[in-house]
Amino acid sequence: MNLIRAELRRVLATRMWTGLLLAAVALGGGLVGLMALVGPENFDPPMPGLHTEEGLRSILGILGFTAFVPAAAGALAATSEHRHGTAAVTFMFAPRRGRVLAAKLATHAIVGLAYGLVLAVAAAAALFTVAAARGVSLGLPAPTVLALLARIGVAMAVYLLVGTGVGALLRNQVAAVCVVVGYLYLAEPVLMMIPGVNALYPLLPGGATAALTDFTYVADAMSAQLGSDAVALLPPAAGALLLTGYALAAAAIAVVVPMRRDIT
């Protein structure tokens, strides 16, 4: 418990934490609010409107694309101790490294869930407010929308842990953040476009996240444009299971890899 308290103090005292909360409000409230305000039907290219199920799922799915933010935060937090040389102090205070690494992981999970919660609440507030103001009745009942947002919120915590795992593996802060953001922001969408390789997309973190909200619009639009076969996402439950798998793998890496490594 002392270790988790220490790690929470470590995270909460940094500006990254404040920045992360602001990002959750800006992305959840701002991005979703803006998309709802403009209306997907007015996008270029136009997408189905908010009053359709597809349009609503698309807006929520696009919110899922912002997962690189918590992932980058996880990578940043996991590499911070090496960057600033405090790893030696930490492992001296807690030479049974497994315990402090597990405490870090628990702390990052708490931070990830807090980020996801703020993001989901801000998105829900923005969505319902804008829809009411524009007089649009949403394409899905409110409880369903909230459930989808909750899934996205939890997925954000998973991405933060994936970032933590990458950070533990690479140790170099710049490299870890570049890899995480580069993969999620650039590489994964590109993979989605390559015929053949895109069959893998449902199994990648992005595909699993999209499965959570059954968000196929972008993938379908891409397949249509490229004339390739439509990508079949996993069912939401399988997507959730796969994401959990990614989180566990990242967690295992984050605890096991630094266990015996020399701190020089």
Partner: protein
């Protein structure tokens, strides 16, 4: 754990990085109640050794224990051992209070201990400033505060003089002396000898990862020698040798005498009616000893 006297023991410590052997078969003991200087030129393996003592680096072979326990098995590591390796290990966005608060929580110390240490190290004014803007001296003091959080019985300092001004260094020597006098074990590494010379009781000297000398400083330096200048060295040498002194020439009209102290040399000279122009007691400085012990390497290269 107050009252515990914990020795540090290294036994056959070896660390290889690929083909490079950083530390080779190092065996020494650091006793409680004394300040021990851990000396050697830069790159001799001091930092690697200290990191092996604290479990940060796993030895290739050999063991290191503190009070008979490997570091990783200590029940309360932060309350047993405090160390400063790099006087700059802080998150730049943390304030001094944040930083100490994190480690106080890890060690299970109350937050009142944080305030105590900020006062003790003269950081109270800067407590709520982010460490990003700290001077080197402030960083050193905050590192020391971190090491002292758990009121440890054993203190390890790696090159603490880096970045400390002479006043800070003198303050640090006073602190180390006080801690040792309380029965704690203090190991302080340095390549700048005159800074620790005034405070060390024992020394461990290494060169190229191997032990060169270890023991009480007074025994390593040996008894003082007497340098005597006289126009009649032949008669003087005979007189001193008769009194069981060991004599060697140290110049045309100079002798270096071992085994007899200066008053005795003067008395013998007077008794034999030999004129003496100068009489000097020589004590080897740690610097000289260090140079003697380590320059061989430079010549061998």
């Amino acid at each position: 754990m107050t009252g515990d006297h914990l020795a540090i023991e290294a036994s056959g410590l070896t660390k290889r990085y690929g083909d490079v052997t950083a530390v080779r078969d190092l065996t020494f003991t650091v006793r409680p109640g004394a300040v021990t200087g851990f000396l050697g030129p830069n790159g001799a393996g001091k930092t690697t050794t200290m990191r092996m003592l604290t479990g940060l680096v796993t030895p290739t072979s050999g063991t290191a224990t503190i009070g008979g326990q490997p570091y990783g098995r200590l029940a309360q590591p932060a309350r047993t051992v405090g160390a400063v390796f790099d006087g700059n290990a802080f998150h730049p966005g943390h304030t001094a209070r944040d930083h100490l608060g994190v480690y106080a929580a890890m060690a299970g110390c109350p937050d009142s201990r944080v305030a105590e240490l900020l006062d003790l190290l003269g950081l109270a004014q800067a407590a709520d400033r982010r460490t990003r803007g700290f001077s080197t001296g402030m960083r050193q003091r905050l590192s020391l505060a971190t090491a002292l959080l758990g009121d440890p019985r054993v203190l390890l300092l790696d090159e603490p003089s880096n970045g400390l001004d002479p006043e800070g260094m003198s303050w640090l020597r006073g602190l180390l002396r006080r801690l040792a006098d309380e029965g704690r074990t203090v190991l302080v590494s340095s390549h700048v000898l005159h800074e620790v010379q005034q405070v060390v009781d024992d020394v461990v000297v290494i060169r190229r990862g191997e032990l060169v000398a270890a023991g009480p400083w007074s025994r390593l330096t040996g008894p003082p020698t007497v340098l005597v200048t006289s126009p009649d060295t032949t008669a003087l040498a005979a007189a001193l040798a008769a009194a069981a002194g060991s004599v060697e020439a140290a110049g045309p009209d100079r002798l270096r005498v071992r085994g007899l102290d200066a008053p005795r040399v003067a008395d013998l000279a007077a008794a034999h009616r030999v004129r003496v122009h100068e009489l000097v007691t020589e004590t080897t400085s740690l610097e000289q000893l260090f140079l003697d012990l380590t320059t061989e390497t430079a010549e061998a290269r």
